[in-house]
Point group: D2
Chain length 448, copies 4
C-alpha cells in the first residue's frame, strides 16, 4: 500500500525519528524490534533448558536460528486469530523449527517471564548502545566549551538580576556536573533492571515441575540476556526497577530543560551573550525575516514538557493488584516513548552546544553595566572581615541610597580590588577546570 510516515498520528513517527541517528531508536523500540527481543528471550530460555539437560542442544540451536525468521507481521496475524500476543509469537517460532523441537519453546513460562525480561533486556541494551554514548558526546562538547571559556568573564545572575562575576565556563560547568551525575544514575538504574522466570504467580509453580532448582535455573537463564533476577516476583517483575530507571531519565531531562532555559534567556535580544548557530537558508519567521530564534533550546524545553509528566504513569503503574492485574499493559508499552523523547533532546543539544556562538562583546557589555554595582558584596565582606559591626547595612545604604564606595573604611589595596570587579571571580576558573577534569576522566568509563 502507499501508506507513508505522514499517515502516522504520533509526532515521534512523522516528525522526530527521521534521520539516521534517531532512526536507531527503532532498533530497540519499534514493535519489530520488540518481537525480536521477545524471541531472543524465548531462545535464551530454550538454551538454558538444554544446558540443564531437559532436552538436547540441537533444539536450542534450531530455536536460536528461528529468532531472525520471525517477524511482527506474522505474529500480529496470528494474534488476530488467537487474541494472545506471546502465544502468537510462540506459535510463529514453532513454525520455523522442526516438529521435534517445537514443543520445547516457551516451556513452563508465563507470558510475563518473557515480556518483563525482554523489556529489561532492550532498555539495558539501548542505554548502553545509544543513550550513554550520546550523553557522552554531549558532555564532551560541554567540557570543550567550558574549558575554552573558563576565563571568559560573565556577570552572574540571580533572580534575573545582575549579581556578582563568574566566568562563562563556570556557568557551563554546572551542567557538566549535574548531567554527568545523572548519566551515572542512568547507568546504575539500567544495570539494575531485572528479569524473571518464576511462573504465573511468582512462586515457581511451573518451573518446579521442570527443573530441580528453579531459583538457580532462573539466574542461569537470565545470565544469557545479561540480567539478574528480581529478589521476589509475582507474575511480573516488581515495577520499582523500571520506576528508578525512568526517574533517572526524567531527572536528567530536567537538567537539560534547565540548560535550555538558561541558554534561551542568554540569547534574548537584550542579553545576547550566546546564540544557536543558524543555518544559511533558515527562515527565522514567516513574517519577521530578521528573527534569530533559539529554536533548538525551545524544542528541548518543549520535549521536557511533553515527557516529564509521563513519569506519573510509572508511579501509577506501581500498583498492580495481587499477583498482578493487567492495567499496566497499555501504559507500559508507552514508556519507550519517554526514552525516545529524552534521547531526542540529548541528540538535539549535542551539536548545538558544540557550535554555540559565544558573543564576547555582549558578555563584556553586560558585565560592564553591572560592574559599578558588584563591588557591594566584596565591600561588605572586606568590612566584615575586619569585624565591622554593621557592614551589611552600611553597604546597603551606600549602594541603595546616597553613599559612595570610596568613603567606606577600607585600605587602598582593597579599594583597588573593589574598583576592578574582574578580579572578583573567586575560584570560578579552578572549579571549572576541576569539574571538567573529573568528567573527562569518568567519561572514559562510558565510551570504551
Amino acid at each position: 500500500m502507499d501508506r507513508t510516515i505522514f499517515d502516522s498520528v504520533s509526532p515521534l513517527e512523522f516528525r522526530y525519528l527521521k534521520n539516521e541517528e534517531t532512526n536507531r531508536l527503532r532498533d530497540y523500540f519499534s514493535e519489530e524490534a520488540f518481537i525480536r527481543y521477545l524471541a531472543r528471550v524465548e531462545s535464551a530460555l530454550v538454551k538454558a533448558y538444554a544446558e540443564e539437560g531437559v532436552f538436547s542442544e540441537t533444539v536450542a540451536e534450531e530455536v536460536a536460528q528461528s529468532v531472525d525468521k520471525v517477524c511482527a507481521t506474522e505474529v500480529y496475524a496470528e494474534e488476530r486469530r488467537i487474541h494472545h500476543q506471546i502465544r502468537a509469537l510462540v506459535n510463529c517460532m514453532k513454525k520455523h523449527v522442526s516438529e521435534k523441537s517445537a514443543p520445547w519453546i516457551h516451556l513452563g513460562a508465563t507470558s510475563h517471564d518473557i515480556i518483563c525480561t525482554a523489556e529489561a533486556f532492550r532498555y539495558k541494551e539501548a542505554t548502553y548502545n545509544l543513550l550513554l554514548p550520546q550523553l557522552a558526546k554531549l558532555l564532551e562538547n560541554l567540557i570543550v566549551l567550558a574549558q575554552r571559556e573558563k576565563a571568559t568573564l560573565q556577570i552572574g545572575r540571580t533572580h534575573g538580576q545582575h549579581a556578582i562575576p563568574l566566568t562563562f565556563g563556570f556557568t557551563i560547568a554546572e551542567y557538566i556536573a549535574r548531567l554527568g551525575q545523572r548519566m551515572v544514575k542512568i547507568k546504575e538504574a539500567a544495570d539494575n533492571l531485572r528479569g524473571q522466570f518464576s511462573g504465573a504467580v511468582g512462586a515457581y509453580n511451573a518451573p518446579s515441575l521442570l527443573v530441580n532448582d528453579p531459583v538457580a535455573f532462573e539466574r542461569k537463564f537470565l545470565q544469557k540476556v545479561n540480567l539478574e533476577p528480581a529478589e521476589h516476583s509475582t507474575q511480573i517483575v516488581p515495577p520499582e526497577y523500571q520506576t528508578d530507571f525512568f526517574h533517572a531519565i526524567t531527572s536528567a531531562f530536567g537538567v537539560l530543560a534547565n540548560l535550555a532555559d538558561d541558554m534561551r534567556h542568554l540569547q534574548r535580544s537584550e542579553i545576547n551573550e550566546i546564540a544557536e548557530k543558524m543555518e544559511k537558508k533558515q527562515v527565522g519567521s514567516s513574517t519577521m525575516p530578521h528573527k534569530r530564534n533559539p529554536i533548538h533550546f525551545e524544542h528541548v524545553k518543549s520535549l521536557w514538557k511533553t515527557f516529564m509528566p509521563r513519569m506519573s504513569s510509572l508511579y501509577l503503574d506501581q500498583i498492580s493488584e495481587h499477583q498482578r492485574d493487567l492495567t499496566n499493559s497499555a501504559s507500559s508499552r508507552f514508556y519507550t516513548e519517554i526514552f525516545c523523547g529524552f534521547f531526542l533532546a540529548v541528540y538535539r543539544l549535542t551539536p548545538v552546544m558544540r557550535d554555540l556562538v559565544v558573543d564576547k562583546v555582549s558578555l563584556e557589555k553586560n558585565f560592564q553595566e553591572a560592574a559599578g554595582k558588584v563591588g557591594a558584596e566584596p565591600a561588605y565582606i572586606l568590612l566584615a572581615k575586619k569585624g565591622h559591626p554593621d557592614a551589611h547595612e552600611l553597604v546597603r545604604q551606600c549602594f541603595h541610597e546616597e553613599g559612595k564606595m570610596e568613603d567606606l573604611p577600607l585600605d587602598e589595596k582593597e579599594k583597588e580590588f573593589l574598583a576592578d570587579p574582574k578580579q572578583y571571580i573567586g575560584k570560578a576558573i579552578e572549579k571549572t577546570e576541576a569539574v571538567c577534569q573529573n568528567w573527562r576522566q569518568k567519561l572514559t568509563q562510558f565510551v570504551e
Copy 2:
C-alpha cells in the same frame, strides 16, 4: 521501501489504530491530515480577502483547488530545504496555482494565525464527526443495559463491603449521568475552541496594512472554518480554550476509568456478577487456559494511566513568555494523542458494555449473603422515625454483638419489611428510569 507499521515506536501506530474505525482518527490527527487542515485554513484566508476585494475571486478558487494537491511528503521535503514548516507549505501551495495567484497565499499571516486556527478547526471537526457519535453509542448501550436491568437486585457496596440493596440498572445509571454530563462538557469546550488572524504579536500589525477593519476581517475569515476569534491573542491563541477542551476529555476519561474498575471488580472470581463476553478462540492465559480475564476493562484503565498525566503538559503550556515562546511547539503536537487515547477507550468499551454478561445467579447469591445484615439500616431508620433516643447504638449492638432484630421495638409490618431486604431498594428503579430518559432524550441532540 518495505517499511511496515511495526517499524513504528508509538504503540498508537503499531497496536491501537489498526481497524477501520480507529483508523478514522488519522483523518484528523495524522500529519497528512494536518497539512490538509493547514491548507484549508490558508485557502479560507484567501477567500476572505477576495470577498473583501483585495484581489479577485478567481485567486480564491485557484487556491481552493490547490488544497487537495498539496501533500505532506512535498511539504516536508521543502521544509528540509528552508527549515520552516508553514513557509514550506505556502511554497508548495504556490506551485499548485498560477504565478498570478501565488503571491496572495498567506498574505499578512503569521504562522500561528494558520496553525492555531487549523488546530481548533480539526479538534472541533474530530469531536463532532468522531468523538461525540462514539460517545453517543456508548451511552446508548449503557441506557439499554440500565433499563433492562433496572429491577435486577444487587447488593450495594461501600468500602468494598456489602452495604444495602440497589439494582444493577441503578449502578449503571451512575455512569450514564456522569458520562452524559462529560459529553456535554466536551461539546461545549469544542464549540469554544478559537482561531485568530491577529499577526505576529497579536496587535493586528500586518492585517492593519491590508484591510480597513482587521478585527472584523478576522471574524469573517474564521467563520469560513466555523470558528470564533479569541478575545485577545498574542502570536498565539490563548491556551485556555484548549486547556478546557482537554480537561473535559481527561475528566471524561476518569469516568471511564471508574466504570472499568467497577466492572473489573464485579468480574472477580469471588464476585462474578458480570463478565466481558469472551471470543470463542480467545486464549485467556498462555499457561492458565481456564482464565477469563477482564482484558478490555483493564485496557481502558491502562489507557487512562497513560493519558491522564498528560493533562499536566497542557497546564505547563499555559505559560508562554511575552507574545509567545516556542516551548509549546513539540508538546502541543502531542495533544492529539490524548484525543486518540480517549477515543480508543470509548471505542473499546462500546461493544463490551453492549454485550456485557450479567450473571443473575451470582447477583442473587451475593445479595443473599448480605441479606441478613442489611436490615440494620432500615431498622435504625424505623426506630429513629419513631423518635427512639438511641436508635443507632441499639442497632449497632444488635448487629455487631449479641442482640436479635426481632427484639427491636417495631411493629409486625415493619418487621416483615426488615425480613425482606428486597423491598429496601428505595427509588433505585425510578431514578434509573429518570436518568435513562433524560439522556436518551439529550442524545438526540448529539446524533442528528
Copy 3:
C-alpha cells in the same frame, strides 16, 4: 499550652496565612469552620423535615441554635471515643438540644449526605465571599494599568527576541482577557457544585422510609444551603463537579504564573521595563545589597509549582469503587489548600500590579534597539500587497544579508512609514481599550 503557629509543619500555617485578609481563608477552610458548615447542613436537614411535617418546627429552631454551640475541640474529643467524625458531631449537637429534639438530628442521613453537601456549601461561599472579590480587585488593577499604558510603546517579543511593536497596555490586556475568562469559569463551576440527600448507596433507601417523595425532599433540603442536587449520587456526589471547580482554579493559576513569568523577565537587569515597587527597608539580598529582586512574581510562580500538580489528586479521586470507597477521604481534605494557594497568589499580585513601576526610559531604549529591524515585516506586507512574487525572500535577504531597505520597490509614503516603526502598532490601542471596557463592565456582575 504555649504552642505557637511556628510549631506547624504546614507553610500555609506558619508563613502564608498570617495577615487579616489571608486569615479570612480560615473562616471557610479551618477545621473549626468545617465543623460549623457540617452543623449548618445538619440544621438545614432538620429544618426541611420540620417543614415536611415529620416533626415540629420547634425542633428545627432548637437545632439551628445548637450550630454555634458546637466546636471542633468537642467533636474531636468525641471522635477519639467512637472513631467516627460525623457520628461524633451528631452526638455533640444532641447535647446542645433538648432530649426531645435530639433524636431528629441526622435522621436518615448517611455521613456523606452531610459531608459532600457541606463541602459544596463552603466552596461556594468562599468563592463568592473571598475569591471573586479578590479576583475583581486584581482585574480592576490590571484594567487601570492597561488603560493608563495603552499607548506606551513596547517592542513585542517572540522567542525572547525583539519582534514588532505593540504597547505595554496591550501586553497587560492579554491578562485581563485571560484572567477575566477564568473568573467566569470559576464562578460557573462554583455555581455548579452539588449536594445530596440520597442515602448510603444513593438509591434513597433510608429517605424513602421517611418522606413520600425523597427526590423532591432532597431538592428542598439543598435549597436551604443554596445548592442543587446531583443528577445521580452513590454514597457520594459524583466527583466531576469538584473536578471542574479545581480545573477552573488550576487553569486560572496558570494564567497568573504566565503573568508572573512575563513580569519577572521584563524586570531582568538588561530589560528593566518594569519593576515591583520596593519597600524602603527591604533587604534585597543578604550579601548583595544592590539587588532589586522580583520576589512577588517569583513567589506566585513558586505557588503555582506547588499547587498545579495537585490537580492530579482530583483526577485520581474520580475513581471510587462501586457505591464508593473511602480512598478519597484524606486526599479530599487537602483540596482546600489548592483554593488557599490560588487565593494567596491573587492576593499577592493585587497590590503589586497596582503599584507596578513602569520604566519608560527602558521601554524606549529597548524599542529603539529593535527599531532598525522591525521594518522587515511591514516591508514584506507592503510588497506582498502589491502582489510582489517573492516578497518574503526579498526582505529576508535585505535584512539578513547585504541589502538595504531603501532599495525595496516601495513608494515614498510607504518608506516613510517603514522609517517610523512607532506607527506600526496595528490596533494595539483600540484592542486594549475594548478588552478593558468589556471586563470593567463584566466586573460589575461580580461585585455587587
Copy 4:
C-alpha cells in the same frame, strides 16, 4: 490567644499530626525546628572559621550557645521589619551574643549557603531518627506475619481471577522485598544530600576573600553538620540530590499504596481473607452499623493520592534560571509535607499489619473454589515436559470445553498430583523464608 489547632487549614495540622509519635515530625519540620536548624548551621560556620583561625574559639562558643536562645517568633518579628528571613535570623542571633562576636555570624555566607545546608541537614536527621526506624518496625511486622503464614495456602490471583496456588506468607514477602529495597534507596538518597558554602553565585567569590582554600573550607564546615559539598553549586545546591530523595520516598509510597490496595480487596465481603482488627467501640458507618471497613488501608491509599502528584513539584523545581531564580522558594517549603505524608502512611500501617486478622476459613474456602481449575497449568506443564506437540490447546479444550482431565495422557502419580492442588505451590515457602531472612538480617543495619 485562644487559637486552637482546629483554626488550621492544613489537615496535617488539625487531623494527622496529633499523637506523640506523629508529633515528632514537628521536631524537624515545624518552622520552629527549621529556625533551629538554620541557627545550628550558622553556628557550624562560625566554628569552622574559628578553627581556621579567622577569629577566636570563644566567638564560636558564644554563638553555639545562642542557637537555643533564638526562636521563630523573634525571627519572624524581625523579618516583618526587614523583609528578609536569613538576615532576620542573623540579627536575632547577634542579639544573643556579645558585641564582639556579633559581626562574625554569617560571615561571607549567602542565604542559601545556610538554607540549602540546613534543609539537607534536617532531612538527613529526620530520615535517620524517624523514618528509617519506623520503616524498620513495619518491615519487622511484615516479616513476622510472612513467616507465621509462610505455609498458609492462598489462591493466587491475576486479573482479579483465581490463578494458581501460593501461600499468604509469599504474598506478604513481595512487600518485604519491595519495601526493603525502597528503604535502602531512601537511606542512600539521604546519605547523598549535600550542603554548600560557595557564595552568591557558587564561585566562592566571598569565601575567597576570607580563607585561603575556600573549597577545602566548605568541606570542613559541612563535616560539622554531617554533610558533603555538592560537586558544583550556583547560589543553590543543585536540586537533583533532593529530587532523588523524594523519588525514593514517592516510589516507596507507591509500594505502600499497592499493599493497601491488595489488603482492601482481600477484605472485600466476598473474599474476606484478611481484615483490619477493629476497635471495640468503633462505629463502622453512621447508618450501617454492621460494616467493617478497611479504613486504615483506605487512608494509606488516600495519602498516596495526596502526595504522589507532588513529586511533579520537585521535577519542576529542577529548573532555576542562571545562578538561580527564587521560584522554588515557596514550593520547596512544601516538600517537608511529602516526608510527613509518607511517614504517616508507614506509621499507620505498622500496627495494622502487626494485628492483621487472617481468616483461614475464607482462605480455604476461596482456595477450594478454585481448586478444580488450577490443575490446568500443571497438566499443561506435565504434558509439555513429555514433549506433547500441542499441550496448551489440549488443556484449553479440556478446561474451557467438554474434555475431562482424566483423559489426558498422564501417569497415575501425575494425576494424583493434579488432583491435589495444595501440592502445587512451587517454592512459595522457601522463597518466603529467604526473603524474610535477607531482610531480617539487613534490618540490623538500620536499627543499631
